[in-house]
């Protein structure tokens, strides 16, 4: 039982990073980033190459993961989403574009990195014992770094000037323009930041469960579940969603055989949405 709780905490902390990234992009741009899982995967591969293959420091590897994923996000915003949002007749267009970027990244990664499952050695060795539960030091590191990053992001969005501009943009795009905010620049920053968070999450989790080029869709689906439970576009909601999914997964994997866990999570989520379609914290719509 205690082991389940410990595992739940580890998963929740990492999932919160993923959910925060996708929420950031969604609330600022009103775009659902289907490629979020693929950005996670690319972050994982960056850490694999920098830290695992070349043996450089793990901090440097994480920074590379964040930078590469962030750069991809920024490029997507500048090169693709901006134009499509301008010319699109229907809102579905930017959604399909997002799906296209996900396919592009996934298959690009397949050719660049191969299809093998890759792992890296743990960053720190040793195991802590909490009551009856075991907590490897490496997983503790993942939790602590995740929590630190979440705190840093929340402080950034709350107290800095670009952060305030992002929140304003999420509330009302037109009025934010009128206030003299450079909307284009803030959009790029938001997209890059969200993508970088996905890359960081991937870079952290690769030390626990490894990475392969095909995990993107599964991670994106998890991200969608989290923001649907929590309420799309709400920061507190995305963290709640991450905690809900993290614990559901930890409990399910301990008690049920393999894929039944996710079946139950899907069924539970659809039932939950019947009663609360806007999620736990979301604003009601439709």
């Amino acid at each position: 039982m205690q082991q389940i709780l410990v595992n739940g905490v580890v998963l929740s902390a990492n999932y919160a990073l993923i959910a925060l990234g996708i929420t950031l992009i969604f609330s600022i741009m009103n775009i659902l980033n289907f490629a979020h899982g693929q950005m996670f995967m690319i972050g994982g591969f960056m850490v694999y190459y920098v830290y695992g293959v070349h043996g450089l420091s793990y901090g440097l590897a994480l920074a590379t993961a964040a930078l590469v994923a962030g750069a991809i996000g920024a490029l997507f915003e500048i090169g693709l989403f901006r134009r499509v949002k301008r010319i699109a007749a229907r809102e579905e267009n930017s959604m399909l574009l997002a799906v296209g970027t996900a396919l592009l990244l996934e298959n690009g990664a397949l050719f660049a990195f191969g299809e093998k499952q890759r792992g890296v050695p743990p960053v720190v060795g040793g195991v802590y014992r909490i009551g009856d539960a075991f907590l490897p030091a490496n997983r503790l590191l993942v939790v602590l770094v995740s929590l630190a990053l979440i705190a840093a992001l929340l402080l950034f969005v709350q107290y800095t000037k670009p952060g305030r501009a992002m929140r304003a943009l999420a509330q009302d795009r037109e009025v934010t323009c009128l206030m003299g905010v450079d909307v284009g620049r803030i959009s790029v920053l938001g997209f890059a930041l969200g993508a970088a968070l996905a890359g960081l999450a991937g870079g952290l989790l690769v030390t626990v469960s490894g990475v392969n080029a095909g995990i993107g869709t599964a991670v994106s689906t998890k991200a969608f579940i989290m923001i649907m439970i929590g309420g799309a576009g709400v920061v507190a909601g995305s963290i709640l969603g991450a905690v809900a999914l993290g614990f559901a997964e930890a409990i399910g994997y301990a008690l049920l055989p393999g894929s039944v866990t996710y079946l139950l999570i899907f069924v539970g989520m659809i039932l939950f949405l019947c009663f609360r379609p806007q999620g736990l914290m979301g604003k009601p719509w439709g």
Binding site: L80, R90, L97, L103, Y262, L263, I270, L273
Partner: protein, 336 residues
């Protein structure tokens, strides 16, 4: 929206010119007839010695049939990424009924449509309250959920090893027969959806896409019609799945993935969302184009990804929007 695109009250009362034709309208009838001549008359003769290409066209025809369902959902303004799941439900219905209980295919086919349509109505009723990306996210999860459900179905679905040796339908045993069956299926589906799109129901669906609240305010029972549209879409998926189950003579939980659901959507987009013929054009172009790629086939997903992005950047309204005469119809529909 510019002033001139707003119709005058008179124009609204008399309605668009198509309504004056009973049925599907003269232009559409001619189009459908021409398509029938090509599909059933010309192509089988031209390809009679080439079973491989007949199979390719069979595939394209049934894939476009399934995509017609996705098109109906686009018509009410939702993005359905669950069509693969409903094709799977239809496929399993046929496979289980025909292998376990010896039910003939011609009974299985309508039963597959009914089962997929019923599941669609049951699931659609709550989730259709969601809109836009929220609906897209739920349907994407649904594809995964249904796959997992069949994977864990125990004795009934036979887990990951799926159901093999699904018997072929009576009277259909050659590639040519399968092709003709698929072509007729597609023509019937197209006739049905064209009839739907030009009927009062079609205008109701389009009004819901433009503004659901407004549609509700003039007395349209929105929740009733959207469930109707969704279960229709799912039934088309179920029929397609049933066809593929006997065509490939097997079905596995891995037969339809999220990728397939996305492809159905891509066909609609590529052809053009404003045109009933859009999914058909999209599916035929992509399926045949893919066969012509030859060596490059292993890059299929990558090419689809690039194509999707290029399509959004250069041709956001699909291939059919290049057709000069038809663009105005689309505009009129959007402005109405």
């Amino acid at each position: 929206m510019s002033m001139q695109s707003l119709p005058t009250p008179e124009a609204q009362r008399t309605g668009p010119r198509r309504v004056r034709f009973p049925g599907i309208g003269a232009g559409h009838a001619a189009l459908l007839l021409a398509l029938a001549v090509v599909l059933v008359g010309v192509l089988p003769v031209a390809l009679s010695g080439r079973p491989y290409w007949l199979n390719v066209l069979t595939n394209a025809a049934v894939l476009s049939f399934v995509s017609l369902g996705v098109w109906v959902i686009f018509a009410i303004g939702r993005v359905n990424i669950a069509q693969g799941a409903f094709a799977m439900i239809g496929g399993y219905t046929t496979a289980i009924l025909s292998t376990r209980y010896g039910v003939p295919f011609w009974v299985c086919l309508p039963l597959s449509a009914v089962s997929a349509g019923l599941v669609g109505a049951l699931i659609g009723w709550p989730i259709l309250r969601l809109k836009g990306v929220y609906f897209a996210m739920v349907t994407l999860s649904l594809t995964e959920a249904v796959r997992l459900a069949f994977l864990n179905g125990g004795e009934v679905t036979n887990g990951a090893s799926g159901i093999v040796n699904v018997p072929r339908p009576a009277g259909i045993d050659s590639p040519l027969a399968f092709y003709l069956f698929a072509a007729v299926l597609l023509l019937l589906g197209l006739l049905g959806v064209l009839r739907l799109a030009t009927s009062r129901l079609g205008w109701i669906f389009r009004s819901m896409r433009q503004n659901e609240e407004l549609a509700a305010s003039i007395g349209i029972d929105v929740s009733h019609y959207r469930v109707l549209a969704f279960s229709l879409c799912c039934a088309l998926g179920g029929i397609g799945g049933s066809f593929f189950a006997v065509f490939h003579q097997n079905i596995y939980p891995a037969s339809y993935s999220v990728q397939d659901s996305i492809n159905f959507m891509l066909y609609c987009f590529l052809g053009g969302l404003d045109y009933v013929l859009g999914p058909v054009v999209g599916a035929f172009v992509l399926v045949i184009g893919f066969e012509l790629l030859g060596e490059l086939q292993e890059y299929q997903s990558l090419l689809y990804g690039i194509l999707m992005i290029a399509c959004m950047l250069v041709l956001p309204n699909g291939i059919l929007s290049l057709w000069p005469g038809r663009r105005d119809t689309a505009k009129a529909e959007d402005g109405a």
